[in-house]
Symmetry: C2
DNA sequence: CTTGACTCCCAAAACGTTTTGGAGAATCTT
DNA sequence: AAGATTCTCCAAAACGTTTTGGGAGTCAAG
């Protein structure tokens, strides 16, 4: 209800003075400052956001684009991450808007709308593709952004990512060390960087061990995709004895395929993401997780630093992957 | 880069004319309108959002507050709903910002900040409590809002909700009809309307059948909560033969408890939410779901109509609950 | 020729803030 | 006591849009 003009009038002061008093400038006396603040509190004055944004030439907004393909948004706990990010951005006066991609438009259109309409100060990109047109566009426009996941872009850009290559290589080698030789991989869509990265890690390990890399099936990054991919691998003449799955959701789908085909308990399996759900599957799902806590806060911090103008090279976080030991990776290995 | 003034100058027209040409007013000739539009396209002109918002006295933003307790945000697919909502809001020129509640602040504080700072045109409230202070505040301020879930507020307000009472009553009666007599309920936190509603439905059915209502345990609306609650019920001298669970996540936790205690396959179980995951549990989880598709679009529509000033009474949607028949509700019932 | 209606355009006033560039009074310096 | 400095405060100019209230022309009817 109250704006600066009314507040100033009621105090017999100028708009300027009231504004500066509230912002804590030194060129207004302590006495007036107090008086202004009290009055503002009493009236419940809040500066009009639009007016400030216009004057300051800042949108006070960050947008995150959400792919519209179901399941391509990210793991179920993804909203928790966004929530954490939004919380920390809010502490710096920024709000997080979610920008899903409507049918018939590309993610690029969305970026364009937000950037060219000066609707945002920065953008957050999730589920990066190996070659990601959004990244190239934002780089050309020079607007700050951070991605969740690396890309193969030539120019460096800020990102947070897990070292999927190392994680999946290690998981595969772990199976090899316990005697497995036919280790399959259930891969996500290879245009996504994370899926490709994890697949490469598996393949690298297999090659290091002198094993064939044909036990690989690709599917959508959801339960159903993992289910179908697992069925495909189980149809092979010589079945895998262990499965490394790109995501926990795919692993849970694969678990069902195993139950259907051999009653379960024959084939070891490991996923990635550490879904809470994994502790409640049968058998409990061994998995991997990115180290580091409060991912959302890290994203917020990187976004703020990108807005502040820090160079991209200093805004790249590659986190190690750690193994989460439950039970599903430890099925008894029968002699081949 | 380009603003209206520059565009007007380059065309030798006034700002007014350019503005009105782009907005398609009739009082600018078709010829000029075309000329202006072409020029605007070429320069890639987009109106400055902050300026328009200030002038129009509209924030072009809707906020959704997210509870910060983990697991209290809603089911895992909740982000999909938000995404759908945001998509339809965007078609009307509104963006959806997510407003998590930081530590040390209440949900009320957040509402206050958004409303009093005139940062939003409307709000979306999720996980309503039976007596919800946010609802009361927004009603007192007269700002449009829609809730996901009913409340016990005396004044009517717009909402979308599932008829949990009817759904849980029906599920309980279904168990009774197939011979079950000891039917337990795993309840969510009773301060939430949805949890209380579902619990009441179960209790009503039990009383109709002349059965005792002591087989009820409450827990957090997550796998772990369901797990602990199920263990509690299984510790009773006479165990339940069937379990009606407030959410699928709780049901999945309960499934693990059943496996641990009696090897599973003894006790029938049903959840609510129709998580995709439910098709992949062992046994596949029978569940319930709210009828109606594209919930997000419904929320968006209600929000827009609330902003347009439609009375609350016309903006209330109570959806029927339908049963999703998988397998977990059909365990063999041994003679007691 | 006047009147009225219509077409096409524009100047100027908002919207509510922040910031610039002082102005006047009080205090300090010399 | 004059000049310099410091304290307080303020008028006015932005920021980029939309909208109000006309102002010229043109044309047809009276």
């Amino acid at each position: 209800m109250a704006n600066l003009k009314q507040l100033a009038q009621s105090l017999g002061l100028s708009i300027t003075t009231v504004s500066r008093a509230l912002d804590g400038y030194a060129d207004v006396s302590a006495a007036t400052r107090e008086r202004v603040r009290e009055a503002a509190d009493k009236v419940g004055y809040r500066p009009n956001a639009s007016a400030r944004r216009l004057r300051r030439q800042r949108a006070e907004l960050v947008a995150v684009t959400l792919p519209s393909d179901p399941g391509h948004i990210g793991p179920p706990h993804f909203l928790d991450m966004l929530s954490g990010c939004a919380e920390h951005l809010a502490a710096a006066g920024l709000n997080l808007v979610i920008a899903p991609v409507p049918r018939g438009e590309s993610e690029l259109d969305i970026c364009r709308r937000f950037v060219d309409g000066r609707r945002v100060d920065a953008m957050l990109l999730v589920r990066t593709k190996r070659r990601d047109e959004r990244v190239e566009f934002l780089q050309s426009r020079g607007i700050p952004f951070v991605t969740n996941g690396r890309t193969e872009s030539l120019l460096p850009h800020p990102f947070i990512d897990g070292d999927g290559f190392a994680g999946f290589r290690a998981a595969t080698l772990r199976f090899h060390a316990t005697g497995h030789r036919r280790i399959g991989h259930i891969a996500g869509p290879q245009e996504y960087y994370f899926a490709h990265d994890r697949c490469c890690g598996w393949r690298a390990a297999m090659e290091e061990c002198g094993l064939a890399t044909d036990l690989c099936a690709e599917g959508a990054p959801l339960e159903q995709g993992g289910y179908l991919a697992a069925l495909e691998l189980l149809r092979q003449p010589s079945r895998p004895t262990a499965l490394v799955c790109a995501t926990d959701e795919m692993a849970i789908g694969a678990l069902r395929a195993l139950r259907e085909v051999d009653g379960g308990n024959q084939i070891s399996i490991v996923g990635h993401d550490d879904l809470p759900m994994g502790a409640f599957t049968s058998p409990p799902l061994s998995t991997m997780r990115m180290t580091g806590e409060n991912l959302g806060a890290s994203f917020a911090s990187l976004l703020l630093r990108a807005i502040a103008g820090e160079p991209a090279e200093e805004l790249q976080e590659l986190h190690a992957i750690e193994f989460v030991d439950r039970d599903s990776h430890r099925r008894p290995l029968k002699a081949a």
